[in-house]
Amino acid sequence: MRHLLSAADLDRDQITEILDLAEEMSLVQGRPVKKLPALRGRTVVNLFFEDSTRTRSSFEIAGKWLSADVINISAKGSSVSKGESLRDTVLTVAAMGVDALVIRHYASGAPWQASRWIDAHVLNAGDGTHEHPTQALLDAFTIRRHLRRSVADQSSFEGKTVAIVGDITHSRVARSNVLLLNTMGAEVILVAPPTLLPSGIDSWPVLVCTDFDQVLARADIVMMLRVQRERMSGGYFPTPREYTIGYGLTRPRLAAMKPGAAICHPGPMNRGLEISADAADAANSLILDQVAAGVSVRMSVLYELLGGAE
């Protein structure tokens, strides 16, 4: 594997390998010395053109725990804010001899473009409304752990149903999750108001439903998407209150979930909008597990890309 640009780049064996290795990586968190020497002497640059806390910091921790040198460059306060093009920025950073570029960009396809300009490994840390493959991997890691907890040694996604609820149109998390969960054999149901379903969704390997309540009793995992207020200027729904009534994971819906089902949310949450405080803090909420998984999964991915010979 040279780059990680899309969840579609990974087949089932590769995903399983990354998740298995992430399980080993997760043990590092409990050790007296939280450091493995595998990427000693390698340099990883986090190049972030969009704000991010958890993705950037978990990539940074992941790189550091593998002994790589990690440098963060954000658009604010860099030459990007002086009008430098993406290409010049990427070539400049690559010219310094870095081994991997972790790119978050507001334009869909930016990491893919970058991967064609430079020799370094490129990891997509979220591009526009396109993809966020490491988020899908950490979601799969969290879900797999949950499945194993509920039924011992049951880690297969076959026959499991994941409902992804919210703004599908603008969600790179949804796109990567659809691809990855489909590869793993899970059934995916997308739940959204018609205004937040992208055109061409008929060709996706999913079921689509506009009635959240119909799906609740069936889903093993309910994955809530953030209402992206910054992208919500187009009149996609009448009022936040109406969105909550139709598509929020409210207390009554929490009670109506299938027994043993769990809740995911990629964060940051809008409490009271797409998810109620009761649901966010429920015993079957995996939201903090997802954050913890972020570091382990990104360590695994960095090792897969940078751990061997060039």
């Binding site: 390998e17 290795l21 080993e24 043990l27 050790r31 007296p32 010395v33 450091k35 493995l36 020497p37 595998a38 593998l66 090792y303 897969e304 890309l305 751990g307 061997g308 010979a309 060039e310």
Partner: protein, 189 residues
């Protein structure tokens, strides 16, 4: 050249392996003056079943269960950059190593590089009181100043040859053979 260099030859059969394990288990207990504070850590892949075998013998001899675990050293190897990304094995510590006597268990001792990696890996997990090394086969050709405390069998080899250890737990058969190599392969074991 002798015939032995062109075809594989058996250097330990099932009985010899069993006797070697029994002897090593006794030696470890003798050197440690009992099973007190011992922990056996096998180096994956074949060090792990060997460590369990030693513990089974110790159980029969002293009537105590010595904790057995696994110590994966992949990410501590000095040859990571020389080949495609290596699969990482399990590390499983049954107890804290802090203050204990750790016996590292591996199938073959060759260059000593695996043991060096294991010592580094162990250092990140705690500070054992002492670290010992038990190997089923010492085939010579060390590249680092490493010495085994307990050896099942000393097997003279040529540098290019390959020592193949097969254990019933993983391979369905107990046998150690020397396979003719395609040339010097260094940096392993």
């Amino acid at each position: 050249m002798s015939a032995g260099s062109t075809q594989s030859r058996v250097v330990m059969d099932a009985d010899q392996i069993a006797r070697a394990c029994a002897r090593m288990a006794h030696q470890i207990l003798e050197a440690n003056q009992g099973a007190h504070d011992l922990v056996l850590l096998g180096i994956p892949t074949r060090g792990v079943p060997l460590a369990h075998r030693l513990a089974t013998v110790m159980d029969q001899v002293e009537g105590v269960r010595v904790p057995v675990g696994a110590l994966d050293v992949t990410m501590y190897r000095d040859d990571l950059r020389r080949q495609p990304t290596r699969a990482v094995g399990r590390t499983d510590l049954p107890v804290e190593v802090e203050g204990r006597t750790v016996v590292l268990v591996d199938d073959v001792l060759y260059s000593g590089r695996t043991v060096r990696a294991a010592l580094d890996a162990l250092g990140d997990l705690g500070r054992p009181r002492a670290v010992r090394l038990a190997v089923l086969v010492d085939r010579g050709h060390r590249e680092l100043p490493v010495h085994a405390d307990h050896v099942g069998s000393y097997v003279p080899t040529r540098p290019g040859e390959h020592v193949s250890v097969r254990l019933a737990e993983l391979d369905g058969i107990n046998r150690v053979t020397i396979e003719p190599g395609n040339g010097p392969e260094r940096g392993e074991a």
